[in-house]
Point group: C2
Chain length 286, copies 2
């Protein structure tokens, strides 16, 4: 399929994902001009200086005027307000995508858009605990998963264009409903984030100073607790129903371990650990 | 201080740590000859072929005869039985060390030893979730923490010799009591392991197939759940009292997150996440 080509693209929120997408669009000659919008002027100036964006605006409306592709890449908590502001000014025939980690929002964005503007929700599974333009890279999406959400309102043509855009950047594109996305990522991403934050808070409550004795295992297990509290507060609240369920299942697992340890039940404990090891091993084979 | 030199060293359990120690002793010319003992003949043969050990025995008593340094590096669950077997055959003036992740055991090993044999408990904070000789390396201990435990029975001369041995291999040596060690490592290592196993088991209970959508965050958070169930069963049971306490504190943190999500309390949630992020950030500065 022919890759989509844009005369002008606007990145609303020039952080790790937004800046990486800008770099990737340029590298693959998919956009002639890239406009950045953001809340921090210094960041926009640095992004321009580094050639990530060609120009910037501190007003989102000015930023989107005339653009063929507009990307929502601020923290997800700002998507709705931002879309409300820009909607009347989006060019007819233009494409709006978001790159947020939560996709239930798609249903709140869709009704805000005028006739003639297509919207497709996207979630690049990339970036890890990094943030900001300093670690941005045109290669960020290469070889990584990219979830596209499909609703009853998603135009088929837009779905094809957006898929081929991400494939051109090297992503492995999968399509699912927003509900399926939020359930799956509550489980494999949002829950692990909350667990990592809770684990670090446990250390801080019991004995903060012991952190200096931590080895690689602790570093790995808690790495995502270094992620932005603002971003993850929004994601967790927007996916709260799934998270309340899954935190409940997780809590039962913790309670089971406590009971097993209280009983000194070696057989039951090895069974629990082996079950987890076997599933985790499947991940390494992917 | 002069580094200790051994004519013959015995490695009881030629896994990642045992094999790496053998390689490091050879590299730094600290032992002329190295004898390996283990339960799997094939592994011993491979270790000899690769030059990790000079010879091997499948009987621990034969393995320790004539050695100046004996290292307990099997899973910790075997330490006591193994020490009972070899104790009468340990050479007068020899040094016994262990490299286990749990140090309360030190008090069970000490009374088993004959006059003239010194024992010092050691815990290299190295290796992560790896295991086996394939990933062993003479550099494993370089720049990594090494905890030495000191009890009322630990001879001062042995403490000095063991410290200088590990320092010669590049380790950053810290000394603490077995009780302090087990409390600290329950918190920064054993608890994170159990949490990672519980997290993977949660995925397996809710929807195993969603693991194929997992990104780097999930990989990091659950990496240690790939560790040996046998080894971690033993460690968890031997440190059960600390772990029952700390799993309880952790469980309260999970319950607090559930309550916050039920209340949709954005302020409280951001406070929890920020507290964790701040402490986690200190780890990166080390």
């Amino acid at each position: 399929m022919r890759e989509p080509h844009f005369r002008q693209a606007t990145i609303l929120g020039v952080g790790l994902i937004g800046a990486s997408l800008a770099l990737a669009l340029k590298k693959h000659s998919l956009s002639e001009r890239i406009v950045g919008f953001g809340r921090r002027l210094n960041n926009l100036k640095r992004a321009k200086k580094r050639g990530i964006i060609d120009s910037f605006e501190t007003d989102p409306v000015r930023a989107v005027i005339g653009s063929d592709l507009v990307v929502l890449s601020t923290p997800v908590g700002l998507f709705r307000e931002l879309t409300q502001k820009i909607a009347p000014y989006l060019k007819k025939g233009s494409l709006l995508i978001d790159v947020g980690s939560i996709k239930g929002l798609v249903y709140e964005i869709e009704p805000l858009l005028p006739e003639g503007v297509d919207f497709v929700g996207c979630h690049p599974i990339a970036g890890g605990d990094r943030s900001g333009i300093d670690t941005s890279s045109a290669e960020l999406f290469k070889g990584s998963l990219l979830i596209i959400t499909k609703t009853e309102s998603t135009p088929k043509g837009a779905l094809r264009r957006v898929s081929s855009l991400w494939r051109a950047l090297g992503s492995d594109v999968k399509t699912m409903s927003p509900e399926e996305h939020d359930r799956v990522y509550a489980l494999v991403s949002h829950l692990p984030h909350l667990v990592a934050y809770a684990l670090v808070n446990t250390i801080s409550e019991v004995d903060e100073s012991s952190i200096r004795f931590a080895g690689q295992g602790f570093r790995d297990t808690t790495r995502v607790a270094g992620s932005s509290p603002e971003i993850w507060r929004d994601i967790a609240l927007m996916n709260r129903e799934n998270l309340i369920d899954f935190l409940g299942v997780f809590k039962s697992n913790i309670e089971r371990l406590i009971d097993i340890l209280k009983d000194s039940d070696a057989t039951a404990l090895e069974k629990e650990l082996s079950r987890a090891q076997a599933l985790r091993a499947r991940l390494n084979k992917r």
